[in-house]
Symmetry: none
Subunit: 204 residues, 4 copies
């Protein structure tokens, strides 16, 4: 893990070489062009495989979407969990998410948040995808909670949740708005505002 780049979407791959290729290809297409706008024809063409081959690896396009979301989420959280402890305790760790996001933003293919993008496309009947996204965001929020616990002292549980929740909300805005404005000011503003939340609290 050490030699790998700070952040990459393609950490945790399964065994199947073709399965990986499908996810990787679909991932790029879904992320850049949208889930509904991407057809399986496009995926198999880019993969150089037959349609039936794709469907022997995934039961449906929806399943590919779920794999895509899971894989991006895993890669994101795994990388972030490596990134955070490398920073100094206190403010540095609490604001780590914004610097991490800055790295993501600088990536040539940055396109906002994969999960929120997909969320926006969902019809009411696509409950599985909805549930997956919600679960992943809760996981992320939960990890932010851990960071707060590790870096803030003498505060109530409610105050801790205010901090982690606040960091979460500011991160979510930052990733979406930096994409929308094709500019990193939302990231810096979020990072700039965040400390107001834990201003009078005691950090480790």
């Amino acid at each position: 893990m050490a030699d790998r780049p700070v952040f990459s979407y393609f950490y945790s791959m399964k065994n199947s070489a073709i399965g990986e290729k499908i996810i990787k290809t679909a991932s790029k297409l879904f992320y850049s062009n949208g889930y509904n706008a991407t057809g399986v024809n496009e995926i198999i063409a880019k993969c150089g495989i037959a349609k039936a081959t794709l469907y022997s690896h995934f039961n449906s396009k929806e399943d590919i979407c779920l794999a895509y979301l899971q894989q991006r989420h895993d890669a994101f959280l795994t990388s972030f969990k490596i990134y955070v402890p490398e920073r100094k305790n206190g403010k540095e760790q609490l604001l780590a998410i914004f610097d991490f996001l800055t790295d993501m933003y600088r990536d040539g293919d940055f396109n906002g948040c994969w999960a929120l993008k997909t969320l926006g496309e969902l019809s009411p009947n696509q409950e599985r995808i909805f549930a997956a996204i919600q679960k992943q965001k809760k996981e992320f929020l939960s990890y932010l909670g851990e960071i707060v616990v590790n870096n803030v002292v003498n505060v109530s549980k409610a105050e801790k949740e205010k901090i982690s929740g606040g960091l979460y909300l500011l991160y979510e805005s930052a990733i979406t708005e930096s994409h929308l404005f094709k500019n990193d000011w939302p990231i810096f503003l979020s990072k700039n505002i965040a400390p107001s939340i834990f201003e009078r609290m005691e950090l480790v």
Copy 2:
């Protein structure tokens, strides 16, 4: 509706009665099911018009999308601009957006932000829609700036922008995340955090 903005997609419509019906119908479908997942067949079926009639009012589905976004944006901003002055100056007006959002959230058809939802579906070639969304968000951000100007005194331009930008980011998160979690905690948390930004500043 009395004082329409200088530019509106309504202007290009030949028969405003049918045109508005199309937008209204498409609006509901785009908002609840997504833009790409909504077909023109569904729109004309719900409208009870012929396909060629739709295409005599709009050049393309993309144009309907632009009209949809414009109309939602206009309605939103118009209502909000009526809502704000009715509140007490100072903190009340600065936090007005969150109470306004709470009302929106309580609406039975709440589904998050129409613009961000659409943004997530865009392919790189759909620049017109991208530009429209960006423009609308800038307009909203700009109005938040006006509110700040009217309710904060003795602060630098940079500090004003930090406030309006912060309110904007918190609002954007709040609308998306309350939809994602099907819960209004993100709205209340945003409202709760917002005052930290202008804590030491002088309000009118």
Copy 3:
């Protein structure tokens, strides 16, 4: 009606020229190759129309099948109802169905009973088609009942039903088995056996 051939499947056509063509084409294919073995691609190719054109006339392949069955049934019953009164009362009319069937058998494209063929292909979930076939057969059976009423006297209702039911069963076998054996012996045997049923009864 007078100048038309004794029996034709294409009596009752709807207005739409293309709709007619689709049914007519599908009809031939379903009847000769089977319903499931016939693809919509084959139908549109033979029709010389686009796929979407087919689907603007019929909502599904199943609907085409229903139209096919209905049309064959209507043509059959209509022709038969013209055929019967032209024959002498009594035995002649009671056995008319077998002579009518002989004409059908001699048609170059004879392939057994369209309805029973389709019945055999049905999955448990294709209830609409099943119901349609059952209804049509009941209608036919009912008309055989009318013939019996008109040609037999002084017999109980039960005996009348035995005759019409018997004629029906013998007809159904005759059409299927003459197809299976590529020979008309089942038709002649059915016609030969039928009189045994009403042997001792009084005919008009």
Copy 4:
């Protein structure tokens, strides 16, 4: 099974254990859902074997169909040949087929005649299956002829054929129509009509 017919599709199977499982599984599916509507994927899934395993036992889906028909036919005729001699000579044996059918009808999975169902689906190029069905029906008809020979005396060959043919036709209707109407009246009516055929003949 003790005295297998000279030719049986079972003979060509390499591993009869798996081969029989395939036929058994396919048999259920073909009979309840139709031949064309049943995919080999469904068969191997229910069998728990690999696709290549299936194709090492049968050269094609058509071959499985032939084995299915042969097996059903063998089981039917074998059982029936045990059933008949157990009944009293004369009318009882001549009408045995209808009581036998009543038992079949009462079975939970009754779905009409496997052979006629398949016959209805055939395209003109599926001659092997057509021939197999014809052969099996001839075999059945032939056995009905044996029954007649054993139970009717002093009648010409033609009259015997009229009886066996009549029984055959009434049976074929009865099995198909009881399925179509989901009611056993066609069986009882057939049994009721049959004696008219040999009414004046001398039984053993």
